[in-house]
Amino acid sequence: MKLKMIDFTGKRKIFLIISAVLLAVSILSILIRGFNMGVDFAGGTEIIFQSETDFSVAEIRERLTAIDPLYETARIIKMRPMTGQEIQTNRYSVTVAEFLADTEKTSLSEALEQLKLESFSTVSGFAANELRAKSWWIAILAVAIILVYITIRFQFVFGVGAVLALVHDAVITLGLYSLFGISFDVSVIAAVLTLLGYSLNDTIVVYDRIRENRKVFRNKSIEWTVNQSINQTLTRTINTSLTTFIVVCTLLLFGGVGLMPFAFGLTVGVIVGTYSSIYIASPILIGMIKGKK
């Protein structure tokens, strides 16, 4: 039986240009706009309220958001005293990623009934020093190990292709965080790592087919082999991406504002990761393999 072939590799220049534009926009946005750093990194202000009435976290969020939309994404924690203390007043810690002025303090305490403002203090970003120094080494080492493994199992150019696709995905996803001004907190790091794992998996599946087809069809051109492999794995690519997309997209739509930065990265990641394994990671091999000959 004949499957209909889609020509992925013929138009590869167009997609390489699209990706180059996306990369340029992302890098520019990261350099110029930067990131909207969340509390985890930038620190912010912690306000502690006290109340005789037992509010739920959702109620507190609702009441504060009515005063200022800033509190929609605030980190709100309900606190209890350690066991053994008699006075059982409810305490709520509300942290926002901004350094509020003292004037805000008075306006807040006036606007809120039943909530007594107890303290107001600046908090440092706990994740800032967790990441900075070592993180570049971790990234470089991880990339080196991936390169070595793919070189052993495949060929050096496949390793280069996979790593370029990873860099492509990471830069574009981070660029989108910057462009849309989405709060950048610790969970974003996890989201980016997840998407890289996903994209790598996706890329290797296509590479594996290319490796196999090159042995079977020795006299065919590399363009043909790559295109054939992408087509053969296409049903799998679509079904896998769609199922993963369903999970992360429901998380984005119904997970609420607090989970948004995390779910956003995953959702964008599935799209970018799938795109890059079809249009970037494999077509890029053609040029490199031809160049070697």
Partner: protein, 469 residues
Amino acid sequence: MRADRVRLIFVVLVITGALLALFWPQAGRSADTFFGSIFKNIRLGLDIKGGSRIDYAIVPAADSEKSIDELANEVVTVVRQRLDSANFTEAVVARVGSGTGTRIRVEIPGIDDPTVAERLVGKRGKLYFAEVLESQKSPTKPAKKIGISYKDAYWLEGKEKVDGESMWYLVNPYVTVNNAKTYLDGSSVSDARASADTQRGGFRILLSFDRQGADIFGRVTTAKVGEQLPIVLDELVLVAPVVQNAIRDGSAEISGQFTAQEAMELAALIKSGNLPAELEKLEERTLGPSLGKDIVTASLIAGLFGLAIVLVYMVVVYGTFGIVADIALLYNTLLLLGIMSAGRFILTLPGIGGIILTIGTTVDGNIIVFERIKEEMRLGKTVLNSITGGYAKSFSTIFDANITTILAGVVLYYLGTGTIKGFATTLIIGILGSMFTTLVVSRVLLDGFSGTLKNKWKPSTAGTGGEQK
């Protein structure tokens, strides 16, 4: 058929183990809600479950020249290192307030036992090697000695009791070597590890010095052969071993017959260096989830909803194969949760990212195999032959795709801290589980279901079939 039997038994054993780990009541763990009872054996992070918060005030030493800002930053770094080396990687350390009101805040997931973390945070961690001038048994601190040779010397209590009485050592922190005073402290230690003491029983701490430290230690031990060389931590003599011979390779051991917990905590204290200031506990509180209870509930429902859609999608697209994939998916999720509760790992939001990736790779692995089996069927092979052929051809795909991800995960685990480590843990366990479920569990299921599967591409008579979809 033997291979089938072995596989089936293995699959049943693994899942039984995982379910036992997940549901066997662990001491001190109870649950109040339905979801809580499912996950009661899994330790949840600060973001999902909450924990304890302890605030400390910084008390600078009297002779300290550093500003409170510098001190606070140093304290945060040291405390972070200590918690990491004692495996409290999910704990959060931050500074709150500014100027004289600066506080150090430590948040620890779970409310089981904040005392361990408190022992790590509150101690100075000042380690040094001292010269011993005299020692005696005494219930109270002996009187101060006067005399030129007792300059700089003071009495310190020993950790070990001898015949139920405290041992006191008159020590001098400056060890005299060839008429010169040398000083060797924790800053020269490049690594400290807890290890089992096979000779004396219990646990000991192995120290490695940096180059300069190794040099000083070599000279000190050469000069002090046959004498005691007490190791002092926070003004308590941990051990006072007699130097047997000169040690020039830059290694030392503190063999005080510690418990495993003690040895691990002491190693963490020594390795991370001493605190530049005293910390005074201000207040201690129990915290709700830092993501907010509303968000945790919403995302749990969203996650389960998404999972349900995936399960339905697979059955719709792949029929019987889809049922196999669904069972494999649930199998791997239970396996992952079982391993997390058995290994007492902490599940946080980044960990959930790892779980989502696991769901993705499990579904993916199954799809890869199914598509290969279908390709084999299109060639006209029987169902059983197609399954064998499909597995043989998809092995390298699944193997390479997952091993690359695991390798990256291992790097993240060993070098990362906090968030990244938590993510790497679930990633590695999840991907290994996904390889196992795809290659073994699904295989068992497919073999079981093979009777109900038909090869719709197999030509029943020559000339028909083959083209139909």
